[in-house]
């Protein structure tokens, strides 16, 4: 069950410019959280920013009762968060949302992350490895300096390949090009992906072409985080047509093929 905790910040550092790792003690959330779930953080007691901000769980230390999130500074809330000192309590609500599933029949799975979308894939990669499922991570960024999260996969011994838009490291191009290449030369039974929508749309197309099942994690503007306000709607397919699903409570993780993207949208 989700709860709200006053979580003591124990580690907070800028990993690469504008990308931060933030670790805090939240035993109840840490005990329950599954890969793909998120927490809703109230960044300030003041009325502006007003709403909580959602962040995927990047890693969890069940023994210590701590959770780490990995975030990029993009606006007012994340800027303020980046100034949060350690040893201060943080108001954290979670765990929220539906988790990734563990495809126990799969021999090898691909984890595809674009930019800060790598965040939920780190904890997932650890759980998959502990289940004995071979895991290969494909991560993309604009340039080598922004390939954050790399150190985590190195630490946990999860094999990974990289792509950069400017070719400064790994394949020059998009992470979806890397995926297309890898699908030709390596076995993949299941795909997990998180990143910008355009990337998720391409991942969906590639997976469907080759009949590979998988799951993607979506983002969206949120208010409540628990399925009450209907603010975080995303179009999904249904048997008869389409409907809006709540990213916060029916997602953020959806099956590949289930989600309708903007270019397929009526708009």
């Amino acid at each position: 069950m989700s709860s709200v905790e006053k979580a003591l910040v124990i580690r907070h550092r800028e990993v690469v410019p504008d990308y931060y790792e933030l670790e805090f003690i939240a035993p109840e959330i840490a005990l329950e959280v599954l890969p793909g779930q998120f927490v809703n953080i109230r960044i300030s007691d003041s009325l502006d920013p007003l709403l909580r901000r959602p962040f995927s769980v990047y890693d969890v230390d069940k023994k210590l009762g701590s959770i780490t999130v990995f975030y990029k500074v993009v606006g007012k809330g994340t800027k303020l968060l980046s100034q949060m000192p350690i040893q201060k309590p943080l108001d954290v609500m979670g765990p929220l949302g539906r988790s990734f599933s563990i495809p126990t029949e799969a021999d090898q799975v691909f984890l595809v992350g674009g930019g800060v979308g790598i965040a939920p894939l780190v904890y997932l990669s650890r759980v998959l490895s502990s289940e004995g499922i071979k895991t290969k991570v494909l991560m993309g960024a604009s340039t080598a300096g922004f390939l954050a999260g790399k150190s985590m996969f190195e630490k946990f011994g999860v094999p990974f390949l990289v792509s950069t838009d400017d070719g400064s490291e790994g394949l020059k191009g998009r992470v979806t090009q890397l995926l297309a290449e890898q699908l030709l030369i390596d076995k993949c039974d299941y795909i997990f992906a998180c990143g910008p929508e355009s990337m998720l749309e391409t991942v969906t197309e590639l997976a469907m072409e080759q009949n590979i099942k998988g799951e993607i994690s979506l983002e969206g503007h949120m208010a409540c985080g628990v399925g009450a306000c209907l603010g975080c709607a995303h179009l999904v397919k249904t048997g008869e047509g389409q409907r809006y699903a709540k990213i916060c409570s029916e997602g953020p993780v959806f099956k590949i093929g289930e989600v309708l993207f903007h270019s397929q949208d009526e708009r």
């Binding site: 069950m1 989700s2 709860s3 709200v4 109230r42 009325l47 502006d48 920013p49 007003l50 709403l51 909580r52 609500m93 969206g220 503007h221 949120m222 208010a223 409540c224 985080g225 628990v226 399925g227 009450a228 306000c229 209907l230 603010g231 975080c232 709607a233 995303h234 179009l235 409907r243 809006y244 409570s249 949208d265 009526e266 708009r267």
Partner: protein, 318 residues
């Protein structure tokens, strides 16, 4: 605090009266949750004892299911947020068949919120909900476009408001609470029209119409262009409207708009509201309703007030 202190305090709390009567609806306490901000109540069960709330005002219900608006549907603004959900809901039959029985079995005081595009739709909804066990009253969301009047909002025209309230009243034995739109020049004229139509009480306010523009994309942020502003940014406007209507119309008022804490709730009660509703604040702090109920009790103890009804309207001119 010593053990005896705690005991006397508990005893004192037990003697405090928080019950209020909102136009025939008996509420355990004056703290309710606003339509559209609390789903059907279940969503908040990990955080709140929903049966302990004065009432749960459920998401707006229409006759037929509604898909709702495209995204983005919400955007934060300074000390507030804009929403254009588009009344997404599964329709009145699913509400009656699935949600209502589950709420009833939990002992929740339920106020149904209804919305439509024609006068007839409101009347049919009222008839459909009449006699359904477990509903304490009907809230009418009159901030909807009247498709037969070129999309003019029902809630902006006193003649339409009076007619609609009368049409709904004729179809139900439940207390009827029109929820007024603040997007009008004279809120008291609308309140009076609702009174003349036979309303049992009034809820005010709904959201204030607003918008936001994405400067980088050079277009409105919300897919619907316009949205309703809620949260602390609208509190002074809401409070002013409650204060004005309380002096002009002899009906109990449910006050809402930007209530974030106990002191905000007290302001509304003192402005003449018999009960209050918490909306956007639930998103910020999911336990806020429980805290405000406790906060009201603390205030009453500190000020030696035995009955919450004694502070209602305390700030109105004598």
């Amino acid at each position: 605090m010593s053990v005896t202190d705690k005991k006397t305090r508990k005893k004192a709390r037990a003697q405090l009266n928080l019950q209020v009567n909102l136009g025939g609806m008996q509420l355990k306490n004056p703290v309710t949750v606003a339509s559209g901000t609390f789903g059907y109540g279940f969503e908040y069960e990990p955080f709140v004892d929903i049966a302990g709330l004065g009432a749960v005002i459920v998401k707006g219900t229409t006759l037929e299911p509604r898909m709702g608006n495209p995204s983005p549907r919400i955007i934060e603004t300074p000390a507030g947020m804009l929403n254009a959900i588009g009344l997404e809901n599964p329709g009145v039959d699913v509400f009656i068949g699935e949600y209502l029985p589950a709420l009833r079995s939990r002992g929740v005081t339920v106020i149904a919120n209804i919305a439509g595009n024609t006068m007839e739709e409101y009347a049919r909804l009222a008839a459909r909900l009449d006699g359904q066990p477990g509903i304490a009253g009907l809230e009418l969301n009159i901030s909807c476009p009247n498709v037969k009047q070129g999309g003019l909002q029902f809630g902006t025209d006193p003649v339409m408001v009076k007619e609609m309230v009368a049409a709904v009243k004729s179809q139900t034995s439940l207390p009827v609470m029109p929820k007024l739109s603040p997007n009008v020049t004279d809120i008291t004229a609308i309140a009076r029209a609702a009174y003349e139509g036979g309303a049992d009480c009034l809820a005010l306010i709904n959201t204030l119409m607003g918008m936001a523009i994405d400067v980088d994309k050079r277009r409105p942020v919300l897919a619907n262009t316009f949205g309703g502003l809620s949260g602390p940014a609208i509190k002074p406007v809401a409070l002013r409207m409650v204060y004005q209507v309380a002096q002009e119309v002899p009906l109990p008022i449910m006050g809402l708009g930007g209530i974030m804490n106990t002191r905000d709730a007290l302001e509304f009660l003192m402005a003449g509201a018999t009960a209050i509703s918490i909306g956007t604040a639930n998103f910020v702090d999911p336990m806020i309703t429980t805290q405000i109920i406790a906060g009201l009790q603390e205030y009453m103890e500190e000020c030696h007030i035995a009955d919450i009804n004694d502070i209602i309207g305390a700030a109105l001119p004598q």
